[in-house]
């Protein structure tokens, strides 16, 4: 299928220099301040919920990098999430590694696995790529169950939830919230750096015009693999955090449904955005619960209807649709707005 590119959109993809409008910074700082203050105003349970939102946001951010910015669909990110979770769990349980020290290994292993996956994935596009990544989602629970001396098999691994540093005067839930918040902010910062820089432009070029990109001298294979690795790095770190916060890992928790949830969260938030990942995190965490409250007998039907609703009203996702609209008020022309997620070839 042919794609039509309008001239203004090309200009809009022009590089974002570090400067954004002053309003944007005020907004960002305000959000961070609110996020830091929230745990003290909410009950432990709500703090726990918000921690999970942030964790899912990090995972969805990974998926956004791959599918949104680089156009490679993945139905397998639940598997990479599990890899990160089990890395953390095994290190903590078997080797007594402190929880915060499990994040870098999870990131590294996630990256390595993503690159390994990305290499054969170079051959595939559209639904074929979907199948390859689907295989990852399906194989992961099987492999986890099989290597049970390491993974605890069906029984899973119980983890002791980390204690906050003494003297801070806050409880576990709030401490973990801040840990997750810091990791999320770091993730957003790193993602923004990558995506608004040369690498990000290469990603987007490959997504939209692979032949032109290659003709311009962009090493398509290298960047596509890099996109994969970066994406799975984020998701694996999210998985590690989830294991620490929940305190238990087992193969049942990383089913195909999780991979699909990430994809849906990504689409609802805005596939080629960074802020959309946070919206996606909220969607994944809260909408199934709301669906359950609304209907006891058919909760999934409500969840499905919610998906339809979001896709009809905001087909580019919440941030993808509202973002450009808001940007007109707050942004200068220099701000990068790869919000315009176009229909990528194939899938």
């Amino acid at each position: 299928m042919e794609k039509r590119i309008a001239a203004p959109e090309i200009l809009a993809e022009a590089p974002a220099a570090a400067s954004a409008s002053g309003w944007r910074w005020v907004g960002i700082v305000a959000i961070i301040v609110i996020a830091a203050a929230l745990p003290f105003a909410l009950s432990k349970y709500h703090v726990f919920e918000l921690t999970m939102v942030m964790i899912y946001a990090i995972a969805v951010l990974g998926l956004n990098i791959l599918t949104g910015y680089n156009g490679q669909i993945s139905l397998g990110h639940g598997g990479f999430f599990a890899v990160g979770a089990y890395t953390a769990a095994i290190l903590m349980h078997r080797y007594g590694v402190p929880y915060w020290a499990t994040l870098p290994p999870a990131a590294l292993i996630g990256f390595a696995l993503g690159v390994l996956f990305g290499l054969p994935a170079l051959r595939f596009e559209g639904p074929y790529l979907a199948l390859v990544t689907l295989a990852m989602a399906l194989a992961t629970p099987q492999l986890l169950k099989y290597f049970d001396t390491w993974t605890g098999g069906q029984q899973g691994i119980n983890l002791v939830k980390p204690m906050p540093p003494a003297g801070l005067g806050i409880d576990r839930d709030r401490w973990l919230y801040f840990v997750a918040l810091v990791v999320l902010l770091l993730a957003i910062r790193i993602a923004a750096n990558i995506l608004h820089g040369r690498t990000g432009r290469a990603f987007v070029a490959i997504r939209d015009h692979p032949i032109a990109a290659a003709a311009m001298g962009i090493d398509t294979a290298k960047y596509k693999t890099l996109a994969f690795g970066t994406s799975t790095l984020f998701t694996a770190v999210a998985g590690a955090l989830a294991a620490i916060v929940i305190g238990y890992v087992s193969p049942e928790g990383y089913s195909l449904f999780l991979s699909i949830s990430f994809l849906v969260g990504s689409a609802v938030g805005g596939i080629a955005t960074i802020g959309g990942a946070i919206v996606g995190g909220f969607f994944i965490q809260f909408v199934p619960n709301l669906a359950n409250d609304i209907s006891d007998a058919a909760p999934w039907a409500i969840y499905g209807l919610a998906m339809l609703f979001f896709m009809y009203t905001m087909p580019r996702g919440v941030v993808g649709t509202l973002g450009p609209w808001l940007m007109r008020f707050f942004a200068t022309r220099k701000t990068a707005a790869p919000f315009a997620a176009r229909r990528s070839e194939g899938a």
Binding site: Y146, L263, V264, W300, Y303, M311, G346, A347
Partner: protein, 289 residues
Amino acid sequence: MHQFLQQIFSGLAAGSIYASLALALVMIYRATDLVNFAQGEMAMFSTYIAWTLVNAGLPFWLAFLITLAASFVGGMIIERVVIRPVENAPVLAAVVVTIGLLLIFNSVAGWIYSYTVQDFPSPFPDRPVFGALMTTRDLGVIGVTLLMLVLLFAFFRYTPIGLAMRAAAQNPASARLCGIRVGRMLAIGWGLAAMIGATAGVMVAPVLFLDPNMMGGVLIYAFAGALLGGITSPIGAVVGGLIVGVTENLVGTYLIASQLKLTVAFALIILVLVFRPNGLFGTAIVRRV
């Protein structure tokens, strides 16, 4: 040797189940350039309609025909009402919509019919053939699948509507200029796919037993089979489905770690795709600058 043959034949029987659903997937892909993840659940729902009719006392074939008609209409309505709004949206939005449909159908079926596993009558008798390597019922499934394949192939190749549908899918703008009602083609495409799915479901329910989660696993294998064969090729769908069935069986039998059957089977499929990235019978996507 006997065991080997046994597994091949079981694999063909299972594979024909995957192939029948894969045909529906290919149909929708050719008509609308979209993978319909809700295909399995739609087929399951059609089967429940048939089951309700049979339980109400209707003879099997009459119930089947009514189900086919209802599925055709249902498929068209879904295309018009549910898919139409996201037709011009990014592909991912359409994918999410089909996922939403999957959840809705599954949940509603569970709500209306409960999750108890039900018996479903088969039009084919259940007698062993080839010395217990297969039953007549398995042969029936293979036969109907092949029949659907032939009909589908002939439809796309030799009928005006089939040609119009292919045109509408490949190049909607030009097709419109030729006077083809693209919207109508899309709707018909979905209707036909729903009919194929209903046939698959009705054939398969006696073998798998009817419950809302009947098609969940089948969809995954059907998807793999359709892609292995080439997502644009009906022949590929059937061949792919059969290969997936046989591979899965052989791997399960001869692999030491049979708990990794699914993993290894998929790994093999992907290996084949690495050498033929568009599937065995698929057409390569040609990129123009």
